[in-house]
Amino acid sequence: MKKWCYLAAAVCCAALTLSGCNNKEETESLTIFNYGEYMDPDVIDMFEEETGIEIKYEEATTPEEMYTKYSSGAISYDLLCTSDYMIQRLINEGEVQKVDFSSMQHTGNIGDKYWEFASVFDPDNEYALPYFWGTVGILYDTTKVDAPVDSWDVLFNGDYANNIIMPNSQRDAFMVALKYLGYSLNTSDEAQIREAQQLLLQQKPDVQSYLVDEARDEVVAGNAAMAVVYSGEAYLGHEYNNNLAYTIPKEGSNVWLDTWIVTKHCQNVDAAEKFLDFLCREDVAAMNFEYIYYSTPNEAVINSLDPELRNNESLVPADSATDNCEVCTQTDAAVTQLYSDLWKELKSE
C-alpha cells in the first residue's frame, strides 16, 4: 500500500515540475485541426520561425471524424479547417468565434467571389476564412467524345449510353439532375426533387456505374467516356491521361469550399489571427497551392500562375463558369428522408 502512495506522490511531483516548465518558458502555441495532406509542412515551420508561436498540428480524414474529435473535447483546438456544411453546423451550434477579417493585412488577397461563396453558411463573413475550393463537373475523354462538352445534357441525351459514370452519393447525383432542370441544388420543393428523380430513373439504363472514388480511374483507364467528378480529381486525372478534359456545365453545378474558423475554445485569438493572416500571404498561399493543387481563392496567387495552370479549368475556373454554381447546404430532416427514399427507389430499378 505504501509503495502505491510513493508512486502517486512521485507522479504528482513530476507533473508539477513539467507544468512548471511550461509556465516558465511562456511560449505561445496554437492547436490546429486540418484535413490530412492539406497544408505544406514547410508552411508550419516557416510560421513558427517567423513568429515564435508553436504549432500543434492534428489531422483527420472526414468532416464527420473532425466533428467527433472536436466535440469529444479531449484536445482543445484553436483553429479548424473543414468543409462548408460542417462549418455551417459548427456555426449553428455556437462553437465558432467571430473574427474581424477586414483588419488583417493579407485577407485582401481572397477574392470577393469566395467571400460570397462562404456567405451561404456565414452570411456576414464574420466566422469563416476561405482556404481552398473546387467544383463538381464532367471529366471526359476527348478521344471518345466528338463535340465539346458544355452541358449536363451529354449525360441525359443517350448519346453515350453505357459510357457514363454518375456519382454514387445522393446529393451529388441529384445535384446533376436538379441543375440540368434549372433548379437550385438546395431546393426543398418536393415536386422539383421528384422531377429530378424521374430524370435519373430515365438515365439509369445509360449509366455504366455509380462510383465515387474510382470514377476518375475508370475514365483514365478508358473504361468510360465521362464521369461526374470533383475538380481536384480532374486535375489528377489529367496528369495520368492527357486526353482528358474537364468542364463545368453551363447550367451550373456545385462548388465546395473549405474554410478556417477560430473555435470558441481559443484563448490566444491574437496568435490565431496571425496564423490566418499568414495563410493568406501570397508566398504562403502559393506554397500550399503547389502542395495541394486544388483551386485557391487567393487572387494574388492566381495572378502569378504559369499560363498553363491558369488556363486549366479544373484549377482556375472562369468566373462565368461558376456564376450558376451553388454551395451545398444541409437539408432539413424531411428533405433528407425524401432524398434517401428516392435514392433507394432509383437504385432498385
Binding site: N162, N168, S169, Q170, K204, V207, Q208, S209, Y210, L211, E218, A221, G222, N223, T336, Q337, S340, W343, K344, E345, K347, S348
Partner: protein, 272 residues
C-alpha cells in the same frame, strides 16, 4: 469450479460480441427514433423496394450456392481418387487465395472484368466479341463464387475424403457398379458436408454488400446494400436494424428448412 473459470473468457466473448450487439440491434429494430415501440421497421421488408432487394439477394445467393456445389463436388471426388501428396497440394492451392483480403480480391476481379480489362483483352486476341459482364448481376455472382468457393470445398471435401475405403470395397464385393457405389454409398455419406457448405456459402452470399457494390457498379441493389445505406448515409439506424432482423429471421427459417432436410437424409441413410 476451475472448469467454470476456464469458460469465462468464452462467456465474455459470446456475451460482449454476439448476444449484446444482437440485443442492441433488436432494440433498435423494435423502436422508433423517439424510442417508442414499433413493428414498422421489421415490416418494412415487405415494401416493394425492400422486397425486390430481398428477392434479388435470394436469387443471386441461390445461384451462387448451386454453382459452388457443382464446382466443389466433382473436385472433391477427383481429389479423393488422387494420391495422398497430391491431395495436400490441391488443398494448399485452394486455401491460398484466402490468405489475401477478400476486398482486394474483389477489386482485382473488377479490373479483370472491366470493359477494357484483361479478360476482354484476351478475348479480343482470339477475335471474340468483348464481354460486357462488369456491372451486371452475372459479375456479382462470379465474385461471390470466387470468394465463397473455399467455404464449400472444405466441408464437402472433408466429408468425402473421410469416407472409409472399406465401405466402398464392401459395396464392390456385393456387386455394386461405379454408379451404385456413388449413389448408395458416397453421395449419402457426403450430404452432411454439402449441407454445412451450403450454409457457409448461402448466408454470406445473402448478406453481401461490398461485392455487389464493387462488381455491380452501384447499379444493383441487394438487401445488404439497403441496410448499409440506412446505417452509413441515411443515418436511419432503426430501419437498418429492422431490415437486418428481418433478414436474420429469413436466413434462420431457411437454415431450419435445410436442417430438416438434413435430418431426413440421415434417416434415409439408415433406410438405405
Amino acid at each position: 469450479m476451475n472448469r467454470k473459470l476456464l469458460a469465462a473468457p468464452y462467456l465474455v466473448w459470446v456475451a460482449g460480441f454476439i448476444i449484446i450487439p444482437l440485443l442492441f440491434i433488436l432494440g433498435k429494430a423494435l423502436t422508433t427514433a423517439d424510442g417508442g415501440f414499433t413493428l414498422q421497421n421489421i415490416a418494412a421488408i415487405a415494401s416493394p423496394i425492400h422486397r425486390k432487394a430481398l428477392l434479388l439477394s435470394l436469387q443471386l445467393a441461390l445461384l451462387c450456392t448451386v454453382i459452388c456445389v457443382l464446382l466443389a463436388y466433382p473436385l472433391a471426388l477427383i481429389v479423393r481418387s488422387s494420391k495422398l501428396n497430391q491431395q495436400s497440394i490441391v488443398m494448399f492451392i485452394l486455401i491460398l487465395p484466402m490468405w489475401m483480403n477478400f476486398i482486394l480480391r474483389i477489386l482485382a476481379l473488377q479490373m479483370l472484368l472491366s470493359n477494357n480489362g484483361i479478360l476482354n483483352m484476351i478475348l479480343s486476341r482470339f477475335s471474340i466479341a468483348p464481354l460486357e459482364i462488369i456491372n451486371t448481376p452475372a459479375a456479382i455472382v462470379f465474385g461471390m463464387v470466387y470468394d465463397f468457393l473455399p467455404y464449400m470445398i472444405l466441408p464437402v471435401m472433408n466429408s468425402i475424403l473421410s469416407i472409409d475405403n472399406n465401405l466402398i470395397a464392401a459395396a464392390r464385393d456385393l456387386g455394386a457398379n461405379g454408379f451404385h457405389v456413388f449413389w448408395k454409398v458416397i453421395f449419402p455419406l457426403s450430404l452432411p458436408g454439402v449441407a454445412s457448405g451450403i450454409t457457409m456459402v448461402f448466408v454470406p452470399a445473402m448478406t453481401a454488400f461490398v461485392i455487389s457494390d464493387i462488381l455491380g457498379g452501384g447499379k444493383i441493389q441487394l438487401l445488404g446494400n439497403v441496410i448499409e445505406q440506412e446505417f452509413s448515409v441515411s443515418m436511419d439506424w432503426n430501419l437498418g436494424s429492422g431490415l437486418s432482423v428481418a433478414l436474420m429471421l429469413f436466413i434462420l427459417a431457411t437454415s431450419l428448412l435445410l436442417g430438416r432436410g438434413q435430418n431426413q437424409s440421415d434417416r434415409g441413410r439408415l433406410l438405405w
